[in-house]
């Protein structure tokens, strides 16, 4: 296939060619950035938490009376006993927060008490000796808490427990050589806390972008949360009994003590609901970007079909002449396919610059991540296929133009 005659013909359609190339360039720029956003969001949505999600639910229990720390701690103990007695409940624990809650308590972590710039930031969970078992997180080193280690923490009581169980991500950040067990660190206090256990994975309670550098870094302190306002109960249902347990649990709690508030709307949430809520905006963004990508590709594809059909219509006579002079069906088909390929390549060359330009702008404005090359390559392949696919039908029609057209007036 000779390229020279194609270029010569395109020179006669400068504006049209340029517009298609520009359209392909813009489409490429938007599609690769959108694909990258979609991929990031989907990766975020499917982040594992390390907990037994299918069987867990959380009750947000607010007290309807003012309790002292001791009273609140006793009420929490009583409630947990009630919950554990329910037929559908395997175990129950209390905490200040839970993974994917979308906010919570986090502390700066330092290796020395007087360190100016923090080493990292960790999500804080308060848990009793049932915490690990209820959540179903996997202890990979050390031990669980003993019941006698668990202290009560009332309103803004600020003590640092001497021992802690940390996630592997936090352990590795603090002690990269893998020897974190038994070692201390400091958490905004001059008293150290010592790592007695390491769990495989425990997601942070927030899902924000600022905490991306501290992903999965969390710690559990042996503390019973005795806040005057209330507490979260995390309950693990027996397999297959989640719905029943979610219905029974608030009833049993109210029967025991009326002076509490469990929102009928979202006071009891299964972990599936928690996950759904936590990533609502990410899912929305992925859907929106997918819709935009599809519309964009459809319009660009249809635009190529439309314009090529027009050009074919315009050149019927020339095609006829070529056919009369011995060009085969295949020659004509290849002519249009190659013409499209050349235009696509020109568009893609422009589009690659635009894609990185758009990405740089997103990085600068919204601290997004840098666009990996593979998305640009993916976009390039996608657009070449789209172009060739779109041009195929009009090209086929062109190849069927009879040589007799050469004799007819335009």
């Amino acid at each position: 296939m000779q390229i020279h005659p194609i270029l010569a013909a395109l020179r006669r359609h400068k504006a049209g060619t340029l517009l298609i190339a520009l359209q392909i360039a813009l489409t490429l720029a938007i599609v690769c950035n959108a694909l990258f956003i979609i991929h990031q969001r989907l990766a975020h949505i499917s982040e594992p938490t390390g907990v037994d999600e299918p069987n867990l639910f959380v009750i947000e229990n607010l007290w309807g009376e003012q309790y002292s720390t001791e009273e609140a701690a006793a009420k929490v103990q009583q409630d947990l006993a009630t919950l554990r007695q329910l037929a559908g409940v395997a175990d129950a624990t209390q905490s200040n927060s839970y993974p994917l809650r979308g906010g919570g308590w986090d502390n700066f972590i330092t290796m020395k008490p007087d360190q100016i710039s923090p080493t990292t930031d960790s999500s804080i969970y308060l848990g009793d000796e049932h915490f690990l078992r209820t959540l179903g997180v996997k202890l990979i080193a050390g031990r669980d808490f003993h019941a006698d280690e668990v202290q009560n923490m009332g309103l803004r009581q600020n003590f640092v427990p001497p021992v802690t169980i940390v996630s592997k991500a936090l352990a590795d950040k603090l002690y990269p050589n893998g020897d974190a067990l038994g070692k201390p660190f400091y958490s905004m206090s001059d008293k150290p806390t010592t790592i007695i256990g390491i769990v495989d994975r425990l997601h942070r309670s927030d899902v924000s972008t600022w905490s991306v550098p501290f992903a999965n870094e969390s710690l559990v302190w042996p503390v019973r949360d005795a806040q005057p306002w209330g507490v979260f109960y995390i309950v693990r249902a027996r397999p297959g009994q989640l719905d029943a347990a979610m219905r029974e649990a608030p009833k049993a709690l109210y029967a025991e003590n009326r002076m509490r508030m469990i929102s009928p709307k979202d006071g009891v949430q299964s972990f599936a609901q928690i996950r759904h809520l936590a990533f609502e905006s990410d899912r929305g963004m992925a859907v929106l970007m997918s819709i935009i990508c599809l519309v964009l590709l459809a319009i660009t594809g249809a635009g190529i079909v439309g314009l090529t059909s027009f050009w074919v219509g315009q050149r019927r006579r020339q095609i006829g002449v070529r056919r009369a002079l011995g060009a085969t069906h295949r020659d004509i088909l290849h002519y249009f396919l190659t013409e499209n390929l050349l235009i696509s390549l020109a568009g893609i060359a422009m589009g690659i610059f635009l894609a990185f330009g758009l990405n740089l702008w997103l990085v600068k404005q919204f601290s997004s991540q840098l666009l990996p090359l593979v998305y640009v390559l993916g976009g390039v392949v996608l657009l070449i296929l789209l172009g060739q696919g779109a041009v195929f039908a009009p090209a086929l029609r062109a190849s069927r133009v009879s040589p007799v057209e050469a004799t007819r007036p335009a």
Partner: protein
């Protein structure tokens, strides 16, 4: 003549229905995607108090210094205040109106013992809060400065809670049991829920589905130990426990807003704030340089990134889609117009000036734009209705279709398509009549 051009345009568009449909669809989808994302952007980026936002200021004092910051914070001082400084600023009373405020979520105990207590949301504020923010009252009013001083047990209800407790009747003078203590109702707000909740973006992120049900005097809330609900940020762990320990600590949990009516007042307040920092530094509280901020409300909302970045990215990407649709339309119009070179040649040879050709083809582009715009209207309407499927509730509920959005949709469609049609029309008007006539 205009009617004739419209007729010509419709004939021409009917001659290639596939192509016409393609252009209309492209314009329709492009405009609808942009307008739907714009309606969301408009909803979240709007000024919540446009008549006054430039007079409302948020002071920030760098009470933590460099050790209280992560690397990414760009030297920004804490975005809220500790108790000591908030109360000192209130006592100095240097602005026309000012209020320290913090979010509370007390429980309301219904008189009927068979009913469960209900959890409500609200803020502990100073008396000037209501006048400063022009909060609309349905019944009664806010409390007086004396009530601030006396730490009076008074409450302002929002209309939704008033509906629930008093069936919407004028409840001024009645009592409400909040956290086990009786409060006298002094005012009922007229369904006041500004979005974003600009007076306390630190604790609400701006957009929240939480209701504002009660407002009680700040010092009263402190006295009865009504704890704060929301963010508490500390650069070090407080030395003492409890809510009192929090008040003595350097943790920040209080929002602050001041009304400053003119440039002189702003400058004077800034001087006061800087002087306050220097005094405290001299007293040995700080050992880092002055790093205060005094932003007006729009700048403050911007610095707090109240408009979600997803909303902006979506808008930019959707505008990109619109541009692609326009380039697409321009290409198709160009092909379509130039194919009619011989027709143009005849018209020109018969004496039509270039202007007539311009008018004819721009009308044709305009008709495509108008039809695409009508499709776009329908798609925008469908899009805004279904944003609830893709966006979080607290944002999706704010987006709505109104007349100005519909008018804008049509205008954008028609104007954009005519812009896309300018180059093809220009090319059409340059057609040489002699050449066209000869070649036939």
């Amino acid at each position: 003549m205009l009617g004739y051009y419209v007729d010509l345009a419709v004939r021409s568009l009917k001659r290639s229905p596939g192509l016409t449909l393609l252009m209309v669809l492209a314009i329709g989808f492009g405009v609808a995607a942009s307008m739907t994302t714009y309606s969301v952007f408009r909803a979240v980026s709007g000024d919540p108090i446009p008549w006054k936002s430039s007079q409302l200021f948020v002071p920030q004092i760098d009470i933590w210094g460099p050790k209280g910051r992560l690397d990414g914070d760009n030297g920004e001082p804490p975005d809220a205040m500790d108790y000591t400084d908030a109360v000192a600023l209130m006592r100095a009373h240097r602005a026309k109106y000012q209020s320290a405020l913090y979010r509370i979520s007390p429980s309301i105990v219904p008189p009927d013992p068979s009913k469960h207590p209900v959890s409500v949301g609200g803020h502990a504020v100073y008396s000037e809060f209501f006048a400063m923010l022009d909060a609309p009252f349905k019944y009664g009013s806010g409390w007086s400065a004396d009530s601030d001083e006396q730490r009076a047990a008074v409450v302002v209800l929002n209309s939704k809670l008033n509906q629930k407790l008093f069936a919407g009747a004028n409840s001024v003078g009645k009592t409400v049991d909040i956290d086990g203590k009786d409060y006298r109702v002094v005012g009922v707000l007229d369904n006041w829920n500004p979005k974003p909740e600009f007076y306390d973006v630190v604790n609400t992120g701006g957009f929240t589905t939480d209701q504002e049900d009660v407002f009680i005097p700040f010092q009263r809330a402190i006295d009865v130990g009504m704890t704060n609900d929301g963010n508490t940020n500390c650069s070090e762990i407080p030395k003492e426990s409890g809510f009192v320990g929090l008040q003595k600590s350097s943790c920040v949990w209080i929002a602050y807003m001041a009304e400053l009516d003119d440039k002189a007042a702003v400058a004077a307040y800034k001087d006061y704030l800087d002087g306050y920092f220097r005094d405290q530094k001299q007293a040995g509280r700080f050992n880092w340089p002055l790093n205060n901020r005094l932003r007006d409300l729009p700048a403050w909302l911007d610095s707090q990134h109240v408009v979600p970045s997803d909303t902006k990215i979506s808008l930019v990407v959707a505008l990109g889609l619109l541009v692609v649709c326009l380039v697409n339309t321009a290409g198709l119009l160009l092909a379509k117009f130039l194919r009619r070179s011989s027709e143009i040649g005849v018209r020109r040879a018969l004496g039509a000036p270039r202007l007539a050709i311009y008018t004819q083809f721009l009308i044709e582009a305009g008709i495509v734009g108008l039809t695409g715009g009508l499709l776009g209207l329908f798609l925008t309407w469908a899009g805004v209705i279904s944003v609830g499927w893709v966006l979080p509730k607290e944002i999706a509920t704010l987006a709505h279709v109104n007349l100005s959005l519909l008018v804008l949709t049509l205008l954008v469609a028609v104007i954009a398509t005519m812009l896309a049609g300018i180059y093809p029309t220009f090319r059409a008007s340059r057609v040489q009549p002699a050449l066209q006539l000869k070649s036939n």
